[in-house]
Amino acid sequence: MRINIDKNLRQQAIERKFASRCRKLRICPDQCLSWCISTLILLFASMTVRAAETPSALEYKVKAGYLFNLARFVEWPAGSLPLSDSFFTVAVLDEGEALAVIQSVLDGKQVNGHLMKVKSVRTNPAEKDFQILFVTRAAAKSPQDLRLSLAGTAVLLVGETDQFAERGGMVGFVREQEAIHLTLNLERTTAAGLKVSARLSSVARLVKSLDLK
């Protein structure tokens, strides 16, 4: 009995407190409930939304376009490219949405007689069976570490983090005046045995390596 009384009192106290809050908000309790339920449903519905068009889809479509042009205007050393009937592979190191968008743009395209293929790499790649490695911001990898892991290979290291080409990478995507542009570190591409065409180096902003401690 005592328990029941306490429960009732507690219930009444809760109702009073709720009503008081409602009064402060100048809405009635049923409206409060309605708001809360609506908000919960809204949140629940939003959490169940499937991955589809991404907020930065356009950004990665543009970057995919640049990757295609890099494949066109960079010359890989003889022997590092597979035979003409095999794939030209772009590896994407990504923890976000970039991979699917880039695949949708590049997969199946022809470049210099090769069919393009985009593949995902999750960590520092052990197998270097690709020609371009694109590292997204979401991957949160140091370009310097990646460069060291790719030492001795003819892989074009492309990234989008701040000063990527200066801090160990070869080509960086930078935002300037709302558009996406390229930075190019010729010293690094040359060291990797890659030959950049004049067409590409005239459009990209040339940068130098930072003396990283």
């Binding site: 589809a52 991404t54 701040d162």
Partner: protein, 710 residues
């Protein structure tokens, strides 16, 4: 601007006691019902988005109407605009990554909807509203737009350069805005406090106007328009990137409007005041210029406007239907430097010079008791000149991006001068100077790849009132690639402007203890991208404003002075849905529900509509050659100042429509706009200085515009 001495005391914006009557409750229920309908519509949309349909980026990324990105040249790729915001963190970032609720209005939208002024642009933005008293425009954000203020709680920037002037804090946004809207590349509306980056005035929000680049103009443009009320405007622009790498943009504009030939205002409807008709007193003229020269890391930029508006509504109890020229002149020149120095420090620095001048003539009744009718002409001549330096360095390392910045400013010429011509009498003659300095630090800390904390702190020191410290913190979380949650807290301030601080108005005195206004804001933002290029966002906010500056009368000597007295709070929600089809169809709709009240009395503030609705639809009719823009704006009732004969400005709906064509003839753009299509009779609450309670706005009017590029 005028030296304001209303004498109405500190109850400037509080409405008379509002009883919780059945009528009020009914309205409240109606408002909530409307809100619930919106909410459920949104839920349905999101539920649709959550249907387990087979869908992947492969299906969506390349539509038939989109270009094949592999077929684009390097130059073409570099010309594609990817939406970003600069002003939220002082560097370009994705809108969803910004620690604020952000809206971007692009130059395309300016053309599509036929926007004529910055105020037109802002009226179409979620949660914003602009009142117009036929002289100046006043920007309302988050339910706050106190009649009689000059808009000092919104910071307006052009390319990051502050436009609010130090005498009255004015945020010019109608024909007095320094840029022709045709020179705007985009407008960033960043809601919430921005004082941790920008200091003064970034109270309710920051509006950063980004100008076009010379290389985008790539030649010359001539533009002319004709509009209602005998309005004509012309513009000549040249921009290019020269072969030596220098990028230039030069532009000049001239605008002339006769305004309403016979403007009727019922508050003056007496035989001795021409039956309330102001004849030929609504004219508006300006000329403005803008120049930008970029070379490598240096940018030299300057702008100037001189605008002469005839004020038709006899402010400050002057004589109605007499000339009252109100001239505002605003200019600046700035040299900016941006580069990466040393190892990896991104450095930017700028030095600037600014000017503001205000010339106003008032004709008042000076009839002595029992004497013949006599008038007195008062000439007010105020101006300010200031110069300053801003610098910042930022460095990205590991998971942090640190930004350290400073601002030093010297207002070396502050003048408030007012004389009666005959008999000659000096009413105000203040000459002074002021200094201010600020130091800020911001860290963007990527705790996880999808969780970023932005924390900032800014210290400002003023020669007038002392110092203030303002922090902010924003947590941006992306649980899924298309979903963003933002949890935001911030503080900001508005320093007393010279007029408030100096106390040199007529029958006024200074208050050495006058301090800055403060605001604390709490906000949660939810942004969701949906299939088929649909975007949805919602936010809930709570603002607590303290120490609002208000005018009062000292009972001891009867003099007016400013003091920190009022506290107000706002709570509200905003929702917005946006759709962009691959074929170019654009639609955006938003709803704002808010309430702003005085903390102590719980009375609603003046000029604070509880509900705002905005809807914009851009329809391509013939590819990119022909299109139409339709716009709808709704505002619920807004209270007028207390004690006025008319208690409020009625709710209103305004429709605007624009039809435009481009490149039907090479280089030619044409547009025809009708504003207030349904000729809605609506009003905005008036400030203290005006006799009418509410100000009538323009009825249906049109504009034809032609632009030729070569």
């Amino acid at each position: 601007m005028a030296l304001r001495s209303s004498g109405r005391g500190s109850d400037y914006s509080l409405h008379s006691a509002q009883v919780c009557s059945k009528k009020v409750l009914k309205k409240r229920r109606k408002a909530l019902c409307t809100f619930r309908v919106w909410l459920w519509v949104v839920i349905l949309i999101i539920s649709w988005g959550s249907l387990p349909i087979s869908y992947s980026a492969n299906d969506s990324a390349l539509g038939s109407a989109e270009p094949d990105f592999t077929s684009l040249s390097l130059e073409e790729l570099g010309s594609i605009k990817v939406p970003t915001v600069y002003g939220a963190s002082k560097h370009d970032q994705r809108i969803t990554d910004a620690p604020s609720s952000v809206t971007i209005v692009t130059s395309e939208e300016v053309k599509t909807f036929g926007y004529r002024t910055l105020a037109d642009i802002l009226r179409g933005v979620r949660g914003l509203y602009v009142s117009y008293d036929r002289t100046y425009g006043y920007i309302g954000v988050r339910g706050f737009n106190r009649p009689g203020d000059f808009g000092g709680r919104t910071l307006i920037l052009v390319d990051g350069h502050r436009l609010n002037e130090p005498l009255f804090d004015s945020a010019f946004n109608v024909t007095d805005f320094i840029l022709d809207v045709d020179l705007i590349e985009r407008v960033e509306v960043i809601r919430g406090p921005g004082s941790t980056l920008y200091g003064d005035n970034a109270f309710f929000g920051v509006i950063n106007v980004i100008t076009r680049h010379g290389k985008d103009v790539a030649g010359a443009e001539i533009s002319g328009s004709v509009a209602s009320f005998d309005t004509y405007q012309s513009r000549v622009t040249y921009g290019n990137r020269l072969t030596n790498g220098v990028e230039v943009l030069f532009s000049g504009s001239y605008f002339d409007s006769q305004g309403h030939e016979r403007l009727y205002e019922p508050a003056f409807d007496t035989p001795d005041q021409n039956n309330g008709i102001a004849e030929g007193r609504d004219g508006d003229t300006f000329y403005s210029g803008f120049a930008s020269i970029k070379y490598h890391q240096f940018t030299l930029e300057g702008a100037y406007i001189a605008r002469d508006k005839s004020a038709p509504l006899a402010a400050y109890e002057t004589l109605f239907n007499t000339p009252q020229p109100t001239i505002d002149k605003r200019g600046f020149a700035r040299l900016n430097f941006n580069d990466t120095l040393g190892e990896d420090w991104v450095v930017s620095a700028s030095a600037y010079y600014d000017y503001y001048g205000s010339d106003v003539d008032y004709l008042s009744d000076a009839t002595a008791p029992g004497g013949p009718f006599a008038t007195v002409l008062n000439k007010e001549r105020d101006h300010a000149q200031w110069t300053g330096f801003e610098g910042q360095v930022s460095k990205a390392f590991d998971q942090h991006r640190l930004t350290l910045g400073t601002e030093l400013r010297y207002d070396f010429d502050l003048t408030l001068h007012s004389v009666n011509v005959s008999p000659y009498e000096v009413l105000t003659d203040f000459h002074g100077s002021a200094e201010r300095g600020g130091l800020f630090l911001q860290d963007e800390y990527s705790i996880l790849t999808n969780l970023v904390l932005t924390a900032g702190l800014r210290f400002d020191d003023y020669s007038s009132f002392g110092n203030t410290l303002n922090p902010r913190a924003g947590l941006v979380y992306n649980p899924f690639s298309k979903t963003t949650f933002k949890l935001l807290y911030g503080q900001a301030y508005r320093a007393p402007n010279l007029f408030e601080y100096s106390g040199v108005g007529i029958d006024s005195k200074s208050n050495p203890g006058l301090g800055p206004e403060h605001i604390r804001t709490y906000e949660m933002v939810y942004e969701q991208y949906l299939p088929a290029n649909l975007r949805f966002s919602a936010s809930g906010f709570f603002n607590q404003t303290d120490n609002l500056i208000a005018q009062a009368v000292d009972p001891d000597d009867g003099l007016l002075y400013y003091r920190n007295v009022e506290n107000a709070q706002t709570k509200g929600v905003e929702m917005e849905a946006e759709y962009r089809s691959k074929a170019g169809l654009f639609a955006r709709a938003s709803y704002t529900l808010q309430r702003t009240e005085d903390v102590s009395t719980h009375e609603e503030l003046s000029n604070s509509p509880r509900q705002l609705v905005k809807a914009n639809v851009g329809v391509p009719l013939w590819g990119e050659k022909l299109g139409a823009g339709l716009e709808l704006q709704y505002s619920s009732r807004a209270l007028a100042l207390p004690g006025r004969p008319i208690g409020s400005a009625d709710p209103y709906w305004v429709f605007n429509a624009t039809l435009y064509s481009r490149e039907i003839v090479k280089g030619l753009e044409l547009s025809a706009s009708v504003y207030n299509l349904l000729d809605e009779k609506y009003t905005n609450p008036a400030g203290d200085e005006l006799t009418p309670s509410v100000i009538r706005q323009d009825g249906r009017n049109f504009r034809l515009k032609l632009t030729y590029k070569y």
